[in-house]
């Protein structure tokens, strides 16, 4: 059964002073209003980041008694995974209307820690934490170092990923850096180093924020108020979680998740009009562009630097401004879906990709640990 996204919304973003539950309520109620559905219509719920028992906690708070819930915790790619699960659940008759939501107050609550959180019972506590890597930054930094070395790619081209994200953010009034003015490659290189080669401006924002998407069958979607956005194909791949267990830093699960999602969708990478690729760090979407087959190996950073993914480019990428310049509430994946759907509906104003019909949303969770790809299409 084909399912569709019928409602999307952001919560308040940035530095909100609001609680996780307040932001969740904003996201969920706004997405349902967008869909023209009511809370009582919802019988499936997927979320995380709400206490120890995320789905029961949020369901209780919203007054819901869902017949299906999901809260796999794989990092920021969870929401692309949830959409795949929702597709399965709706197809199997386990739920009719699923809400996927997330919110975080990490900027207001100052809860982010440079070294991450190490579980004393896991191997990392003995074999990795003693070396004080920044988590997750140092892993992405080592991947970036390996990328530059293997392909002879230029550091300046890697920085261009942040520059292009800012160009989009200047067109998006909801972006945290909307009023910050343009960014240059020199700015990125001159920013304080964090974990080389990455500087502070190669790293995503730390903001509050959240979002929600509402999913139901494409058949039902066609009777609702918004143009449906069909879920054409989904796939995921789990690869590792410690910093030493992956044999090749640059061989992420994205190659597998992308190839499978495109095959399920019956879509070629060349058919993609919009790429929403998780940009936790500048290196992240570079690896994803190549793994998804949108660029040849070693060419993605140069492709971005040439302006092809920016406004007016041949492959618009992260048109909301991305995690680098728009919003990054710890787990950003739900907002990839929100922007992809708005673009396919043609609602994006100055940053609208003209005639966008096929979008790929690709989440990257943990330290390149879990990848989930979703191919979406306008229902025309």
């Amino acid at each position: 059964m084909t399912v569709a996204v019928v409602g999307v919304a952001e919560s308040d973003l940035g530095h909100t002073g609001a609680s996780v539950l307040a932001l969740q309520v904003q996201a969920v109620t706004r997405a349902l209003a967008d869909a023209g559905l009511a809370l009582r219509d919802v019988d499936g719920l997927a979320t995380n980041g709400v206490g120890r028992f995320p789905t029961t906690a949020l369901a209780d708070y919203l007054g819901l008694t869902p017949t299906w819930v999901e809260s796999s915790f794989v990092g920021g790619s969870a929401f692309e995974l949830y959409l795949a699960r929702a597709e399965q659940a709706i197809g199997a008759g386990q739920a009719e209307v699923v809400v996927i939501s997330f919110a975080s107050d990490q900027r207001s609550s100052r809860s982010r820690r440079l070294g991450g959180t190490v579980d004393e019972a896991l191997p990392e506590a003995q074999f990795e934490a003693p070396y004080a890597p920044l988590y997750p930054i140092s892993y992405y930094a080592m991947a970036a170092q390996a990328y530059l070395h293997r392909y002879g790619a230029s550091r300046e081209d890697l920085a261009a990923v942040a520059v292009e994200a800012r160009r989009w953010a200047l067109l998006n009034p909801a972006a945290f850096r909307h009023d910050a003015g343009p960014l240059t490659v020199a700015d990125v290189l001159a920013a304080p180093p964090v974990s080389t080669p990455l500087t502070a401006l190669d790293c995503c924002l730390v903001t509050d924020g959240g979002g929600a998407v509402v999913v139901t069958s494409l058949e039902r979607a066609r009777d609702l108020r918004r143009p449906p956005v069909a879920v054409l194909g989904c796939a995921e791949a789990t690869s590792h979680t410690t910093m030493a267990s992956c044999d090749d830093l640059l061989d992420t699960g994205a190659q597998r998740s992308g190839a499978t999602a495109f095959a399920r969708a019956g879509v070629q990478p060349g058919d993609v009009d919009l790429a929403m690729l998780y940009d936790s760090f500048t290196i992240t979407p570079v690896l994803s562009l190549e793994a998804l087959g949108l660029c040849a190996p070693g060419e993605a950073a140069g492709f971005v630097a040439a302006g092809h993914t920016g406004p007016g480019g041949t492959l618009p990428m992260n048109t909301n401004g991305g995690g680098l310049s728009y919003c990054h509430p710890g787990q950003y994946g739900v907002l990839l879906l929100v922007e992809a759907v708005r673009q396919l509906r043609g609602e994006c104003g100055r940053r609208q990709v003209p005639g966008a019909e096929v979008a790929v949303a690709h989440g990257t969770g943990g330290i390149l640990s879990h990848c989930a790809t979703v191919v979406l299409g306008a229902d025309r």
Partner: protein
């Protein structure tokens, strides 16, 4: 830094560091070598034939990063975090010490050094191999 925790599985590995010997876990059934140690072999799934192999203490830099913001207030920055591929095969996360960092160290040969822990154990770290 708080001393890293230990457990029964890893006790032989940590005990060897008191004598400045680096071990990797080895499966006697299939020959697979792995780090960190586990209660099973990730290659064959076996649980009965796991043992330890002493390492030569040599390897190459798989990748590295110079950390400029410490997650621990008492740790001086900058310091180098690296993935070192041991000659025996497995990759270790570690620190590179006593080196001038530039991009050319990726792929360079390294040799084992030791960083003492307060409880008598030693933490395996690496330094650049000198030209022979």
């Amino acid at each position: 830094m708080n001393p890293p925790p230990g457990d029964a599985l890893a006790a032989p590995w940590w005990d060897a560091t008191r004598e400045r010997r680096l071990l990797v876990q080895t499966c006697g059934a299939c020959g697979h070598r792995q780090h960190h140690p586990r209660l099973l072999c990730t290659n064959c799934g076996g649980t009965d034939a796991l043992g330890w192999t002493p390492c030569a203490g040599t390897g190459t830099v798989d990748s590295f990063t110079v950390v400029h913001r410490s997650p621990e207030p008492e740790r001086q920055v900058p310091y180098v975090v690296a993935r070192v591929r041991l000659t025996e095969g497995p990759i270790l996360l570690t620190n590179l010490v006593g080196i001038e960092v530039d991009d050319s160290i990726l792929g360079a040969g390294v040799v084992l050094a030791w960083s003492p822990l307060p409880d008598g154990r030693n933490l395996p770290v690496f330094t650049l191999a000198t030209e022979a």
